[in-house]
């Protein structure tokens, strides 16, 4: 079995341990090995709680240095490299709604994924969720920013000329929408009625916004310095990354994980940590947990080797990791629940289904 990158007990773990120990008066030993040995009973309990809840797919560096796709149990056990393609880099895996298939993008190993262009790079691929029957769907630069439709038979894509819908069986375009300033990270809601993405048409760049497919009407969900939006299962809420302005002692600021109702009325912190840029938020199918990555380097996920992934209960939000003195001044009342630290990865996604087309 090939494990992506074993260095996932590093500083992130230490910061989480130190921070939670300091503020909760406990000592954690976050451990992503499937040994079941966790020094902190809260993390052990969380790992036990999620370990049988389906699978996580994510991109990570393989031992040969290229990006492959991996699956693992949500507690970090049973890691499998499901692509094993040294000649290619794979990224952006997304389970189909029934969990039987995955979509992803594939580029030559000589190329690098760009954190802002990755949805437009290389070829769109489909495979069984265990990696079997991988097939190229479109040519280089086609079907950009593809996102699964609710029944897994269509995808929504976005290019310069607009948003368009494609029937997978025939590859026919079956509809088109103005993209209304959306420019990256398109995602189709589970109920099929909405699209969310990153847009610049709401008075600030990098707003998270949604479009109603039936009317084409768009609204901002969170303005200014947001990205990587994804839907909750109820299609009424979004998880996304947000870098608030005017952070103390940090002109650039740290990117945090936030959630909001899709009408954009209220947004709340989910997880933040001074010293980490939190990206790649993905909610579990039942909306009880959330996955994310925490990188010390801005934009480091795609250009580096991913970042330690974290898993927490949404009922523990807001949680702040580490000392994060400045962030704690802004968010006084936090729950600081346990965070299960998982291997280094990029853009994780979660299904509660068993893997493989027949399961």
């Amino acid at each position: 079995m090939e494990i992506a990158v074993k260095n996932h007990f590093g500083i992130f773990t230490f910061v989480v341990i130190a921070g939670i120990a300091l503020f909760a008066g406990r000592t954690l030993a976050v451990n992503s090995q499937p040994s079941g040995k966790y020094d902190d009973p809260r993390v052990a309990e969380l790992a036990e709680e999620v370990c049988k809840k389906g699978w996580i797919v994510y991109a990570a560096r393989a031992l040969k240095g290229d990006w492959d796709l991996f699956t693992m149990r949500p507690d970090g056990s049973d890691i499998n490299n499901i692509t094993n393609t040294p000649m290619f880099n794979e990224g952006l895996p997304r389970f189909s709604p029934d969990g039987r298939r995955i979509s992803y993008r594939r580029i030559a190993v000589s190329e690098s994924f760009d954190n802002n262009l990755h949805g437009m790079q290389g070829e769109l691929m489909f495979a069984d969720s265990d990696g079997g029957n991988a097939a190229v769907f479109g040519g280089e630069g086609e079907y950009t920013w593809a996102s699964w439709g609710p029944e897994g038979k269509r995808i929504a894509c976005m290019s310069l000329k607009g948003i368009y819908f494609v029937e997978l069986a025939t590859k026919k375009e079956i509809g088109r929408l103005d993209r209304r300033g959306f420019f990256q990270q398109l995602s189709w809601s589970p109920d099929g009625k909405w699209l969310c993405g990153v847009a610049n048409s709401f008075g600030s760049s990098w707003s998270v916004a949604r479009i109603e497919i039936a009317t084409g009407a768009a609204n901002a969900v969170s303005s200014m310095n947001n990205c990587t939006p994804d839907w909750f299962g109820d299609s009424q809420h979004l998880i996304f990354s947000y870098r608030p302005a005017n952070q103390e002692n940090n002109e650039y600021g740290w990117t945090q994980l936030w959630m909001a109702d899709a009408e954009g009325k209220a947004r709340t912190l989910v997880y933040g940590e001074d010293g980490r840029h939190v990206y790649g938020g993905a909610v579990s199918p039942d909306g009880r947990y959330v996955l994310f990555t925490g990188n010390m380097q801005e934009d480091g996920d795609a250009s580096g080797s991913g970042a330690p992934m974290g898993l927490m209960r949404l009922s523990d939000a807001p949680t702040i990791g580490g000392q994060s003195k400045a962030l704690r001044k802004v968010h006084g009342a936090t729950k600081d629940g346990p965070v299960l630290v998982l291997p280094d990865g990029w853009e994780p996604h979660w299904t509660y289904c068993e893997l493989g087309a027949a399961k």
């Binding site: 760009d114 976005m158 310069l160 990256q184 760049s205």
Partner: protein, 165 residues
Amino acid sequence: MIRSPIPVGRHTHISLLLLSLLCILGFCASCTKKPDTGEDVKVTTLGSIEVTAQLLEIRGKIINDPLYDYAHVMKYKVLQVHRGKVDGDIIYVGHYNPAEPRSSVADARVREIGGNLRKFKAMDIQRMALEVPIDDYYMGGIINKYFGESKDPIYWAIWTNLVIK
């Protein structure tokens, strides 16, 4: 004690004289910059619109962040329309990664873009090849500090040359 063969006062006078001459020469050189209409084969052929316009305002800070690409919308007064049609004499133009000199701004996301302008400066006059609206030609972050203030279309700058009067 060794005495200078030339009195110190005379040294000072010579230095000041040379400095003044250099300043005058430099000033004259800058005054005699060759007029340039900004015309070249790119600006006259790329895009569907070509204008000479004065950059009235750069609203907001030009961000120089290598991790993010974006277009920054700037306000211009149109002085002359060479090709195509513009709506009114005030236009809003989005420039890609404006911290970069135009000669080196093209990249994987935006390939056919350039010009000889090195730095955006308010009140400068530029000759630009444009397209409109920006969303039909560019898919990326846009910093538009005129949002909500103007409903005019945003033009997309393809080629930008400095005009010297």
